[in-house]
Symmetry: C2
């Protein structure tokens, strides 16, 4: 099995172009940390590229294993229903490709700790 | 001027009850770090309490200064348009109250660093 790997950071998308900035920064920083694995962004809606297009492009480049990290704060309908349906369809469209979905970024204890620091700092606290 | 302070963590809300969990954890951790300032959640839509109701309750308790931290990953229409309109209306409804809005959690460099760590870890990287 082809084990060339890629990482996709999967975000919601928005009409406002300003929305993408922190996700692009996250992609760049992640890519710097793992130069051997291609890291790209994909969106659920309103922004391009969408996840199916990004996965198709990576599969065409010969990638055999994709990890999808949902860059969402919480687990709502998009991660409970929309993403599993998209990934199910991608499995049918690309039978040789392994797609693994990580937990939501916002549920990671390290991320929650950093958000806590930011909230305390914003309130002028210790 | 009344300077009793409070902190509101302002999140999007979702139909799925699972959505609230990381925000509740964030609220609890932030409250632990600054026990002298009441910390509460408020939502833009789909979940309760909404921001105007939470602000009204705090004002009725004698709070004079509220910091609102948007627990959003990026800055899209909700923070560019919806939140400023809500805060403007709150200013009219509560003329003695000072309301300060912080930057989005997802744009904080410390939060982006922690998300980077999580993405690298999820990809099985260094």
């Amino acid at each position: 099995m082809n084990q060339r790997k890629a990482l996709i950071l999967f975000a919601h998308g928005a009409r406002a172009a300003t929305w993408a900035a922190p996700f692009e920064r996250l992609r760049d920083l992640t890519q710097e940390r793992m130069p051997q694995v291609p890291v790209s962004l994909a969106f659920l809606e309103l922004m391009e590229p969408r996840l199916p297009a990004r996965v198709a492009a990576l599969a065409a480049e010969g990638i055999g294993h994709i990890t999808v990290v949902p860059v969402f704060l919480g687990v709502g309908g998009h991660l409970l229903r929309d993403l599993p349906l998209i990934v199910e369809q991608l499995g049918r469209d690309h039978p040789g490709l392994a797609i693994e979905v990580a937990g939501a970024v916002g549920e990671d204890p390290g991320v929650i700790d950093a958000m806590t620091d930011y909230c305390v700092k914003s309130a002028g606290g210790a």
